[in-house]
């Protein structure tokens, strides 16, 4: 039993929620000022970027029950949009994000419309082809995208003058990028939370849990699924733009099928049906893709062959299977269980519930006997 029990909607509950939100915001704001190294700040920025992509994938997989393997392409689309607009047309970085959103919404709808009208996980096959196609398309138009050489922006994003971070210190630019990414990511988290709580969000849950019953209840199943996929693609596009703010360069090999699968691994590890799960998911992603990969690169398991990536692949496959089997709700579910040991939040009892109280007498102390009611 929990040590503390708090009723939902009471002052204590609101206090806990606001307190924890403020605490989280304070930690996120102070975080780069505490660490002195550029590498650590960049890792935090990466976590924030990827958490947006994972959040988008979660809207689709966790809340709507569809799998996409094409999110690498949408992240890439967002990234290339930002790079091209900034490098060739001189746009400011942040102004390119709405363009990424619109492009990815359209691309998501175009891919989603044929695949999502039908029942089943057909979206996965279509998007697998999209993920494989994206690098080919990038190489196809080298004048536009830079082709196999990749494309980069000579000017990093600079902060406005009134901003409190001094850009001429060693960690200054990285800290600037961190704050910019953090603000955009926070907005995306709010949007995602509101989508899930909206009518459409409830419809998404219904489509995931019982598509036929949802259709029978008047939900337009295909439209909800296409909406979920397009929005999720738009989130991925924002993540791509944010990644470019962090490192202003893109290349075709950066957005391959493995990125999609790793996003899925991170999503399942973090907790697919939860907004907050995107954060532990992104931490898992960055730890797997950069830290463990770098560590494994330096190992010399098989006669000097570069095998770092392979160990990460095997570990991720094993991790994914382990989570699906042991903790399908992801890390966030595990944390929630731990929290419930200490602090239980119960729904508020409706007013006047005594009048509607079930009047049967129980024959056994645990189970009320329905027949005697």
């Amino acid at each position: 039993m929990a040590a503390f029990t708090v009723e939902e909607g009471t002052r204590a509950h609101r206090g806990i929620r606001w307190g924890s939100a403020l605490l989280a915001a304070a930690v996120l704001i102070v975080l780069p000022l505490l660490t002195g190294s550029v590498g650590t700040i960049e890792s935090f920025t990466q976590i924030a970027c990827y958490s947006v992509a994972i959040l988008g994938l979660g809207l689709l997989t966790g809340h709507c029950g569809q799998i996409s393997l094409g999110h690498s392409a949408f992240v890439g689309l967002g990234g290339y949009t930002t790079v091209i607009l900034v490098a060739d047309h001189g746009w400011p970085y942040l102004a390119t994000i709405p363009v990424s959103v619109v492009l990815c919404l359209i691309a998501g709808a175009v891919v989603g419309i044929p695949a999502l009208r039908i029942r089943g996980l057909y979206l996965a096959t279509v998007t697998l082809a999209v993920a494989a196609l994206f690098p080919v398309l990038v190489d196809k138009f080298p004048s536009f995208t830079g082709g196999t050489d990749g494309k980069f922006v000579p000017q990093e994003m600079a902060s406005p003058d009134w901003f409190f971070v001094d850009p001429y210190t060693e960690t200054g630019p990285a800290t600037d990028h961190y704050y910019a990414v953090l603000v955009v990511a926070a907005i995306m988290f709010l949007i995602a939370r509101n989508i899930v709580r909206s009518r459409t969000g409830r419809a998404m849950h219904a489509v995931r849990d019982a598509p036929l019953s949802a259709a029978a209840s008047g939900i337009r199943v295909a439209r909800v699924k296409i909406f979920a996929f397009a929005v999720s693609a738009a989130f991925a596009g924002v993540a791509g733009s944010l990644l470019v703010i962090q490192v202003p360069a893109v290349s075709d090999s950066r957005f391959d099928l493995y990125l999609s699968i790793f996003l899925l691994v991170a999503l399942i590890a973090g907790g697919s049906a939860s907004i907050a799960g995107a954060v532990p998911g992104a931490i898992v992603f960055v730890v797997l893709r950069t830290w463990i990969a770098d560590w494994a690169q330096s190992l010399d398991l098989l006669s000097g062959r570069p095998d770092g990536g392979q160990i990460v692949g095997i570990a991720s496959g094993a991790l994914l299977i382990a989570f699906v089997f042991l903790l399908p709700g992801g890390v966030i579910d595990g944390l929630g269980r731990l929290r419930r040991r200490v602090l239980e939040i119960v729904p508020r009892t409706p007013e006047g519930w005594q009048r509607h109280r079930f009047t049967g007498t129980a024959t056994t102390p645990t189970r009320p006997a329905l027949r005697e009611g």
Binding site: I67, P114, A132
Partner: protein, 348 residues
């Protein structure tokens, strides 16, 4: 729960009053007719553009590649029919099986035929084990979780193969005579013995599988599980074992497909990735629940890729993936059940 429209007791099978079967045949004929018309129209353009001999050569190459895609599609279809799940690890499993055959042939110097057969048996056993340990614990209706597990297997198998065998591309020996002079010549187009032998072997496999599935008790159990898990359980069919045998058969077929495909490209841990996407296109086109459809779809996808990338220079050689993508999109848009597949009805 999917109920196929043919399951109605009042429709006598094969009789003149079997309206639904007739409708299905008509629908399949209509779809095939549209595809044939498209092909014929493009062929006219192609022959005018590049001459008859080049056209014939490209058609031959496309068809023979298409048989390979069809075989991988066949493996996908075997698993899909029994479980309703698309096995994303199919390509990676076939790739590992091919590496096993390669290792048996190189290290233990087994004859190639024997090496391939041993690899097929080993991969069938491994797939049966995987099914037992990783797939069966899930509710058969939980497609999302099973699909995620197959993706995890894809990741793990690719990484494992890269760790063990490395990324250096290797040549894989072919089963058939492959000297420079070993070809038939039809209208100036060269049909190499390797390609023809591969195609014939694949056709034999398809016929055998079709016979197994239509004439044996195992095949009956297969179709029963594919139609309705609940009813099969009531009839006393061991669902797990049926699904397990479908995984084993699919893995053996996938390994054979890998061993036949490897000589046409080279052997490295990624060589099946592209073929897997073509196979998805083939299976979608043919109908994900149709054995014959997978081979028909494979041949059509092979033809489409050979002709489109061959005759439209703007697309370029790398654009096979684009063709596969458009095939999948077009099929899902216009004929979601595929050319030879069955449309299923749903009820709450």
């Amino acid at each position: 729960m999917a109920i196929t429209t043919t399951g109605r007791p009042e429709a006598p099978p094969g009789g003149p009053r079997d309206v639904l079967a007739a409708r299905r045949r008509r629908s399949a004929a209509h779809g095939l007719g549209v595809v044939a018309a498209l092909l014929a129209a493009f062929s006219v353009y192609a022959i005018i553009d590049g001459g008859f001999q080049l056209y014939l050569q490209r058609v031959a190459d496309g068809v023979l590649n298409g048989f390979l895609y069809g075989m991988v599609a066949l493996a996908l279809v075997l698993v899909f029919k029994a479980t309703g799940v698309i096995n994303f690890a199919q390509g990676a499993m076939g790739m590992v099986g091919t590496f096993l055959a390669f290792t048996f042939a190189e290290k233990w110097s087994l004859p190639l035929v024997l090496a391939i057969v041993v690899a097929m048996v080993v991969s069938a056993g491994a797939a049966a084990g995987i099914e037992r340990v990783l797939i069966r614990p899930f509710d058969p209706g939980n497609h999302l979780a099973i699909t995620i597990v197959t993706l995890a297997l894809y990741l793990a198998f690719n990484a494992l193969a890269a760790l063990i065998w490395g990324f250096d591309p290797r040549g894989f020996p072919t089963l058939f005579p492959h000297d420079a002079g070993d070809f038939f010549s039809i209208g100036g187009a060269r049909l190499y013995y390797t390609s023809v032998g591969t195609a014939v072997l694949i056709l034999v496999v398809v016929v055998v599988l079709q016979l197994v599935l239509s004439r044996t008790k195992l095949g009956l159990a297969f179709r029963c599980v594919a139609t309705s898990v609940e009813s099969s359980r009531l009839l006393g069919i061991h669902i797990g074992r049926t699904v397990q045998s479908s995984w084993a058969m699919a893995a053996a077929v996938g390994t054979l497909a890998g061993c036949l495909a490897a000589p046409t490209t080279y052997l490295d841990p990624t060589f099946m990735d592209k073929i897997l996407i073509y196979a998805f296109a083939a299976a979608t086109l043919g109908g994900l629940d149709s054995i014959a459809g997978s081979v028909v779809g494979g041949v059509l996808v092979g033809l489409a890729i050979a002709l489109l990338t061959g005759y439209i220079p703007a697309l370029g050689g790398q654009f096979g993936l684009g063709c596969a993508f458009f095939v999948i999109i077009a099929v899902l848009q216009f004929k979601p059940a595929g050319l030879l597949g069955r449309r299923s009805q749903e009820r709450v």
